[in-house]
């Protein structure tokens, strides 16, 4: 007799591709705007979907430092890839947002108002474990502290999450090192593991919430057997063994903060273009700036918030110049924030090992390599 994986709950179910389509339909019928992976711009991106047909069946991608290429799989798997340039933060932490509008009246007084939150409830299909952790991290940053960002809160509230356990790892993935995957553990409503081999194409479904169970009850399914649970467990373990990258995180905070003057920062600064790509694709980066637009003739003004990057010169500008004028200092800010000071600020690493930073860096800077270089030549000069 086969031994079921102790990680997968015995009351898990199986659905087929029709069941997945029914799930998307049921979520739409519930009023959710369903977002899932789909082909777009030569990549697998997250966009609104209405049917499982829009999922990137049979597609995968190859990823390496500075390179991303779509590729065909030999089968019809719907989730047989890792993560692309998009993350869910584009929906929860809007890239561009009007914070408020103001009107100046004839008597010189000014009134201001915020826009009502968008009347949307999202259902996300295909949230990977790394990205689920990233959402949890942004929750801490934007709604978990002394101040709450009402715009994030409005979008985040009520999101229905259909997670997917990875069955393949990307060439730049290192979630195993960050202890953030590839198996999802919490924070989902339903979690799928794709079971595909030869004739078979099904999904093992685990429920993580009562509303997840309620939706699952409305679609065709059958109970999973121990052998199915074992297959699912093996598929995820296979992904775990395929990590394209690894990072030694032992004492990483102290390592980086005690080596702020390490010569490696000059080395990486000579390669870094300070383009900010890494901050845009990173699922936890949260920095924003604001622009004030004014129509003086109409007496109208508005404040627009948009994603910003600590790689820009303006980011740290004070009268007299930027605090971080050199690329070296801006790269160091990014890496030390993500891997070290994030712990002080939010009690967690700011990195989930998704690999996007490495893949989408136009010059292929690999943070796992940079940290390893600092570790191997550590000086601990400013501890």
């Amino acid at each position: 007799m086969e031994t079921p994986s102790p990680e997968i709950a015995p009351q898990s179910s199986l659905i087929d591709c029709g069941g997945l389509d029914a799930l998307i339909g049921a979520l739409s019928a519930e009023g959710y705007t369903v977002i899932g992976p789909t082909l777009g711009d030569g990549a697998i991106v997250y966009d609104e979907i209405r049917s499982a047909v829009q999922l990137p069946a049979g597609w995968t991608e190859t990823q390496s430092p500075g390179a991303y290429q779509l590729a065909r799989r030999g089968d019809g798997a719907l989730f047989g890839y890792a993560v692309g340039p998009h993350s869910w933060k584009k929906l929860l932490h809007a890239p561009v947002l009007r914070l408020w509008r103001a009107q100046r009246h004839h008597d010189g007084s000014i009134t201001a108002q915020t826009d009502p939150p968008p009347p949307l409830r999202y259902a996300f299909i295909g949230v990977r474990s790394c990205d689920l952790h990233a959402i949890g991290i942004q929750d801490r940053v934007l709604i978990g502290g002394q101040y709450r960002d009402p715009h994030y809160a409005a979008r985040r509230g009520g999101v229905f999450i259909v997670a997917v356990n990875c069955i393949v790892a990307g060439g730049t993935c290192f979630c195993v090192s960050m202890n953030t995957g590839p198996r999802v553990r919490r924070g989902y409503d339903l979690a799928l593991t794709e079971l595909i081999d030869g004739e078979r194409h099904e999904f093992l479904v685990e429920t993580g919430s009562t509303r997840g169970a309620a939706i699952l009850n409305r679609i065709p399914k059958r109970p999973a057997a121990d052998s199915d649970r074992q297959s699912a467990s093996q598929a995820t373990e296979r992904a775990a063994s395929q990590m394209g990258r690894q990072l030694d995180t032992g004492g990483i905070k102290e390592l980086l903060l005690n080596n702020l003057e390490h010569p490696r920062w000059d080395d990486v600064a000579a390669r870094c273009l300070a383009c900010g790509n890494c901050t845009m694709v990173c699922p936890t980066c949260f920095c924003t700036t604001v622009e004030d637009h004014t129509d003086l003739a109409a007496g109208a003004a508005e404040r627009i918030r948009s994603w910003d990057s600590c790689y820009t010169m303006d980011f740290s500008h004070l009268h007299g110049g930027s605090v971080r004028a050199s690329i070296k200092s801006r790269y160091r800010q990014w890496l030390t924030h993500k891997m070290a000071t994030w712990f002080d600020q939010f009690g967690t690493s700011g990195c989930v090992g998704c690999g996007r930073w490495i893949t989408w860096c136009p010059v292929g800077i690999d943070l796992t390599e940079e940290v390893a270089a600092i570790r191997s030549g550590r000086r601990d000069d400013n501890g």
Partner: protein, 271 residues
């Protein structure tokens, strides 16, 4: 994140490049504490973080002393009585007035330039509750005699018992018979008991670093020294990331920091 719009009650030109705006705020979300700041928005210009320079005993009267140096603060110099200003706040940490009162220690205020503005609420509060505090020593440096803020008040403050006010300027001008030099010269000459003094420092970062050096040399523990930091700020609530100073968000964890917590960071370039 939505500013409340308040008409300026009084606009007082302090120096060639500095103005004090007083706003009567009917409904502040919280009374401000000495050392905190507001985000001020000028229609058509934008928003800037400005420390509160009024008396904490009057939480409805928001005074802001502003030096015109940027895209928002330059046009603010032209603001007039009646103009509506957007206000968000109060934000940030405060000077340790309770600790100073409780310990009975003397207060040594070191201000450079516009750095006197966030310290003025401390002076107001100490003078109002005079018996709760020890001696008050104010050392203040400006570029020229014409750049000295609050000149009338400086003269009034030094009349109070137990209060010392000493001034210095980088460059003298006709009629200036006072000291010329940097503030650390004043500090070196000042008489105080290092063990029984709490120092509050606000000014350019390089000035604060030198003051910390001199205070350490005089034997004042960095645990008795407080600095007010300045960084780029957009949101003031710890979301935008701009004001990060290694582990700290200056808007939320600062602007007032106990020196022992940030001194190692102040020595690292471009942090």
């Amino acid at each position: 994140m939505l500013p409340r719009f308040i008409a300026i009650r009084r606009a007082l030109r302090e120096t060639a490049d500095t103005i004090t705006l007083e706003l009567e705020d009917p409904n502040p979300p919280a009374p401000f504490a000495a050392g905190q700041f507001n985000m001020l928005y000028l229609f058509g210009a934008g928003e800037a973080a400005i420390s509160i320079s009024g008396a904490p005993e009057r939480p409805n009267l928001l005074a802001h002393t502003i030096r015109g140096v940027g895209a928002v603060t330059m046009p603010l110099l032209r603001a007039r009585r009646g103009d509506a200003i957007g206000v968000r706040g109060p934000y940030g940490s405060a000077w340790p007035l309770q600790e100073a009162a409780r310990s009975g220690r003397d207060l040594l205020l070191l201000a450079g330039g516009i750095g006197l503005a966030p310290l003025r609420p401390v002076i107001y509060e100490v003078l109002r509750r005079r018996r709760e505090f020890g001696r008050l020593i104010v050392l203040y440096g400006a570029r020229t005699p014409q750049d000295l803020l609050y000149r009338k008040e400086l003269a009034q403050w030094r009349m109070h018992p137990g209060v010392t006010v000493k001034l210095t300027v980088d460059r003298a001008a006709a009629g200036w018979s006072g000291r010329v030099g940097v503030i650390t010269d004043l500090l070196r000459a000042a008489e105080f008991d290092p063990a029984e003094t709490i120092a509050l420092v606000c000014g350019p970062e390089v000035m604060m670093r030198f003051c910390c050096h001199e205070l350490a040399r005089r034997g004042v523990s960095p645990r008795q020294v407080y600095l007010s930091m300045e960084r780029n700020m957009k949101c003031a609530a710890g979301f935008c990331g701009h004001c990060q100073f290694s582990p700290f968000f200056v808007c939320r964890d600062g602007p007032v920091f106990r020196a022992d917590r940030i001194l190692p960071l102040l020595g690292i370039r471009e942090l």
